[in-house]
Symmetry: C2
Subunit: 407 residues, 2 copies
């Protein structure tokens, strides 16, 4: 069979996370690989009740086609209650419902990227965004981060070097994969630069409400005077990902374009899913649910970091995320975490090798660890198992280094 | 605000159907414009029960992320029970779950079309497919049809003229918008040509089970010996469109590419939606439900055609579809149905002007009428209203023609 595919298909590769998720269906494996919320916290009884009632009382509409923009009551709830981190009070008309944030990333690629176009992102950045954008053949320019996120001087230098760049993609809160949070000052500065250089900012905020220490930070969008900031939100991390419901919050001109794209891409998101969430938000407190998530995930993060403090070799560094789902581990530069993963799977423990999170300059000595989806006991067990393999590799690296020095 | 968008955005325009759907939310308008299934036939009580039980008993999985390919029990049910029209018994591994067929069309564009590539389609063809493919900047070549569908000689001539064409897009059963059905002989011939010329065939089959007279015809896919036929299916017309669940049925090499695209586009379709449908298929008979749809839609089609026979001017032609949701009306060539629509809306009746269904050579004297979504009484009323306007335009056209002849 000979297939003449579109040129872009050379750029579309399998995601290692998704392939790993398959491997880790084996329940004996302790997997830090996913980015899954904790299923035992899903409000199952409430959703069961709401689902049944929504179909019974709104069935003719809830099971029918509806508008591309999304269910108006859900858009209103999002505009009023979920756009936080600042003093924004947007109109519901600025919200488009998408199938999770992932679809918003695909649409962003479709909206902005012609083949060869430059886009800016953090280094490292979210693997799913790399996959989504790659379908449109961009050239990624990775911006270095420090503890406060993107280094502004580097961002300015990049804008000057690439004045035709299409956008900056950033995850300001508890970044995936690094766990780093962008400081308030830099948020303001990025919003200002966006207006000055007329550069769209894609602010991906799936974790912003999952804060463990202090209040949520104001979003970049809350400082957006030029109208170039496009914020992406999702119920996948604060409620349940199985609904595949997220949103795009953007100014009218931009949102209209996204709506046209949605129309051609899949007409609309699931009507019933949207109505179940809207009715849940009406009848129950998502705030309370999120408080429970914060508390649970904070404890799990602490267990993970404490165990790492105790068992990991001192040459290994890792981030202390103040929210979200991940910590990011840096091993000595000689260690390739893809090789390490193969051995880890034999020890029945999994993670995502860091190289997948670098769109251009692959670095091999990082790994991403998720702490949200399992019990404290499993986290402790898994980290101890992992520490044994890491220690072995660090020693080998150390020995090799010594040998190199001798030579 | 200055926006530097991707070049493809010049090609992405608002769909008239969706804009019209908004207009026709006014309940006093009798709208033949949509392609909606009849909501009073939705099995609301059964779905309410299933939805509640699915969340209660499978909640941890049903509300969580799941695999990109789709829920395995749903894929099995589709492979075993919904791939009809021939003697195909595919493996579940050849099925990918999508958000309705519309998403499958978008993915098809992404998979095959580089800017400027030739694709073949029927003339007229489905508006949503034109929208989906347009995002990838193809060049459409429209193939003429007669009462038995695509004229094979024209298809062969097109293949020879454009040997690098990427695929043929066809809706063989009760085509949208024309209502035409492709004959068995031509299905065989298209499958044979597909193998001989190594040309993929996109067989879009949302209406195939909605037959009013006799049995379903065998699908093109059922004659596919080369493996180049990709069949699209959907629960939107046979069950409920609000779930946004459809599928792609293709051979392994091709399906793997679609799965990669799905991964980057939105990770997966809604987990709960997939499980609700799978459980419905397990506990209830979709066959029985479809029998009810067939009977109801057949009666509505008859009322529409009978009323047209009685009230429409004799210069107006229309198709007698043997299934599906639409009839296709040809007015005298002087009449522009877009202009006619504006007046029709004042008479509180709506339809889709035919020009939207021609990707290149817009013809202005056609309209598409849907008969599935309203009572017989409304259909009669609406067609009588429409006949008054059409009669007026036909007389005006006739008078104008006479004048032209005089001159």
């Amino acid at each position: 069979m000979k297939l003449k595919l579109a040129e872009r298909m050379e750029n579309i590769k399998a995601s290692e996370i998704r392939e790993l998720l398959k491997l880790t269906e084996d329940p004996s494996i302790i997997s830090f690989a996913g980015g899954l919320p904790s299923p035992e916290l899903f409000p199952i009884e409430e959703i069961s009740k709401i689902a049944s009632e929504t179909v019974l009382t709104e069935g003719k509409a809830a099971l029918q086609y509806s508008t591309t923009e999304g269910y108006h009551l859900l858009r209103e709830k999002i505009a009023k209650e979920r756009i936080k981190g600042g003093f924004l009070k947007p109109e519901a008309s600025k919200i488009l419902i998408t199938n999770g944030s992932q679809q918003a990333l695909d649409f962003t690629g479709k909206l902005f990227i012609s083949p060869g176009d430059i886009i800016f992102c953090e280094s490292p950045t979210y693997l799913g965004a790399i996959n989504a954008f790659n379908a449109y053949n961009p050239r990624f320019i990775e911006l270095p981060m420090d503890d406060e996120g993107i280094i502004i001087e580097e961002f300015i230098a990049a804008i000057k070097k690439y004045p035709n760049a299409k956008f900056l993609y950033t995850i300001p809160d508890y970044q995936n994969p690094s766990g780093i949070t962008l400081s308030i000052e830099r948020r303001k500065e990025i919003a200002r630069l966006s207006e000055f250089y007329e550069l769209p900012i894609i602010e991906d905020s799936p974790y912003s409400e999952l804060t463990f220490e202090g209040d949520m930070l104001p979003s970049i969008k809350s400082f957006d005077e030029g109208g170039y900031v496009i914020q992406l939100g999702s119920f996948s991390k604060t409620f349940c990902p199985g609904f595949r419901i997220g949103w795009i919050f953007a100014e009218d001109d931009i949102l209209q374009k996204y709506i046209l794209i949605k129309q051609g891409a899949d007409l609309q998101s699931g009507t019933l899913d949207q109505r179940i969430i809207a009715n849940y938000l009406k009848d129950y407190s998502l705030e309370k649910h999120i408080l429970k998530l914060r508390e649970t995930y904070r404890i799990r993060r602490d267990v993970m970091l404490d165990t790492m403090d105790t068992y990991f070799p001192k040459t290994v560094k890792y981030t202390h995320s103040k929210g979200g789902l991940f910590t990011w581990v840096e091993l000595p530069s000689h260690i390739d975490t893809k090789v390490l993963l193969e051995e880890a799977l034999q020890y029945k423990v999994a993670f995502v090798p860091g190289s997948s999170f670098f769109p251009t300059e692959k670095k091999n000595n990082f790994m991403r660890l998720n702490y949200s989806s399992m019990s404290e006991e499993k986290i402790r067990d898994g980290i101890i198992r992992l520490s044994q393999i890491i220690s072995k590799y660090c020693e080998a690296a150390h020995t090799q280094e010594k040998k190199l020095i001798k030579v």
